[in-house]
């Protein structure tokens, strides 16, 4: 049970001692082997060995708060690109989908417009597709655009208003709606 640095292919123990956890696998000979560079972590209670990878994951994981841009709006699904995650790096854009569930007896919340920036939580991942949700508190639209003219919507008295078209939209917004500095600092982004 040495805590030496592990490399891909390095034997950690045998299957009789520990079961493979994250970043570990069983080789043909019944040995538990590391699949990444990192330090092995032995859980003596659960009898599981995992490897703490030296590289943080570039992909979002379940539970991450992410910033995404709406790409396509359909009846039940809003497709978006995940562009940043809170407290971490998302180097590449990933596909996400916000599934809008129809609420019985209530008028469903207005959906999104293409280009809207939304703060959501990763609910699940299935084969590289992320299911996102904005149902929890503190989640929602951070920057929205007018359906008609494409201008930024201004938050006024509980709704979003377009200054040019004089049309009000209802969206679930976050407390720092429209505050660019807050958005950028929360997700570690920089204006390019």
């Amino acid at each position: 049970m040495k805590r030496d640095l592990a490399f891909p292919g390095k034997r950690l123990c045998v299957i009789e001692e520990f079961l493979p956890g994250r970043y570990a696998f069983i080789s043909q000979g019944g040995e538990v082997v590391s699949s990444v560079i990192g330090y092995p972590v032995y859980d003596t209670k659960q009898h599981v060995v995992s490897v703490s990878s030296m590289r943080p994951s570039l992909k979002p994981v379940v539970g991450d708060v992410v910033l995404c841009e709406v790409r396509e709006v359909q009846d039940r699904v809003v497709l978006c690109d995940i562009i940043a995650k809170e407290g971490g790096e998302v180097k590449y854009r990933w596909n996400g989908a916000i599934v809008t569930t129809p609420r019985s007896g209530k008028a469903s919340l207005p959906a999104f417009t293409i280009g809207d920036l939304v703060v959501a939580v990763v609910k699940s991942e299935s084969f590289g597709m992320y299911e996102l949700t904005i149902d929890e508190k503190g989640l929602g639209v951070v920057l929205a655009f007018c359906d008609y003219c494409g201008r930024n919507l201004i938050y006024r008295r509980g709704s979003l208003v377009c200054n040019k078209c004089r049309v009000a939209f209802r969206r679930k917004t976050v407390s720092y709606y429209g505050n660019r500095e807050a958005i950028l600092s929360r997700f570690g982004l920089q204006l390019s």
Partner: protein, 250 residues
């Protein structure tokens, strides 16, 4: 036979050593570095004698164009390329038939190492750039690529080391140089996943007897043991330098 004698005269010294002073089972001086390029997700540099190669890895990321993505696994793209200034006479900057073939061969070798099913709908891009060629570029490129993949945090079942074995003047030699490769009778690049002890690449140009091939593989295994220890040292150095405030994302 006369040709073989002439080759031996030219490529072996009187004391039995090779023209560059190496024993038949000796590698050229090897140097490896990991994390040499900032913009890529993982990178490595290798020098084997006069051969100098950079490898860079990008990903895992979404596969583009999207129709190429696989729902249950990642796709691995590999590009082996020689710089125009890597050889004595300027090389055309485009991809030659040889480079396309080597890209495919290296890609297939790497696919046997990477857990592609861990990255569904994703793509992993591997770029191998030969900046100076002096024989053994495909095996050195593969060695560097496996280091770069490990540096990028891609899950793999093993690292991979490659070395060529040649037949020069009727004798089997390890890691032939450009001169030996040019005047030799056969060339056999081999890549092995050292911990699994499995061969991931084996090609043969020229002719060898069964016994020569067995001897060559045995010789390559010994050379790969040395290369593997250099790989581990390079990765360890990379992790330690990152802990001490070096560049990189560790």
């Amino acid at each position: 036979m006369r040709g073989a004698e002439m080759n031996e005269l030219r490529l072996f010294r009187e004391d039995g050593l090779r023209i560059d002073g190496r024993r038949v089972d000796e590698l050229r001086p090897v140097k490896m570095e990991v994390g040499v390029l900032d913009k890529s997700d993982g990178s490595a540099y290798i020098e084997m004698g006069k051969t100098k190669i950079f490898a860079a890895v990008f990903g895992p990321k979404e596969a583009h164009p999207r129709h190429l993505s696989q729902p249950h696994r990642a796709i691995l793209n590999c590009r082996y390329h020689m710089a125009t200034f890597s050889v004595e006479e300027r090389k055309h900057p485009g991809m030659t038939r040889r480079e396309i073939e080597l890209s495919k061969v290296i890609k297939e070798s790497l696919e046997s190492l990477v857990f592609l099913n861990e990255y569904p709908r994703s793509a992993i891009d591997v770029y191998i750039e030969v900046v100076q060629a002096d024989a053994g570029t495909r095996t050195a490129g593969l060695t560097a690529a496996s280091l770069a993949l490990a540096d990028a945090g891609i899950q793999m079942n093993d690292l991979c080391c490659g070395v060529a074995v040649g037949k020069v003047g009727g004798r089997i030699v390890l890691d032939p140089s450009e001169e030996e490769d040019k005047h030799g009778e056969a060339d056999m690049p081999i890549a092995i996943a050292p911990r699994q002890n499995s061969i991931v690449l084996l090609q043969l140009n020229g002719r060898m007897t069964r016994e020569e091939m067995r001897l060559g593989i045995e010789m390559a295994r010994k050379g790969i043991e040395v290369l593997y220890s250099v790989q581990i040292a390079a990765l360890t150095k990379r992790v330690r330098s990152s802990h001490q405030g070096g560049s990189g994302r560790y």
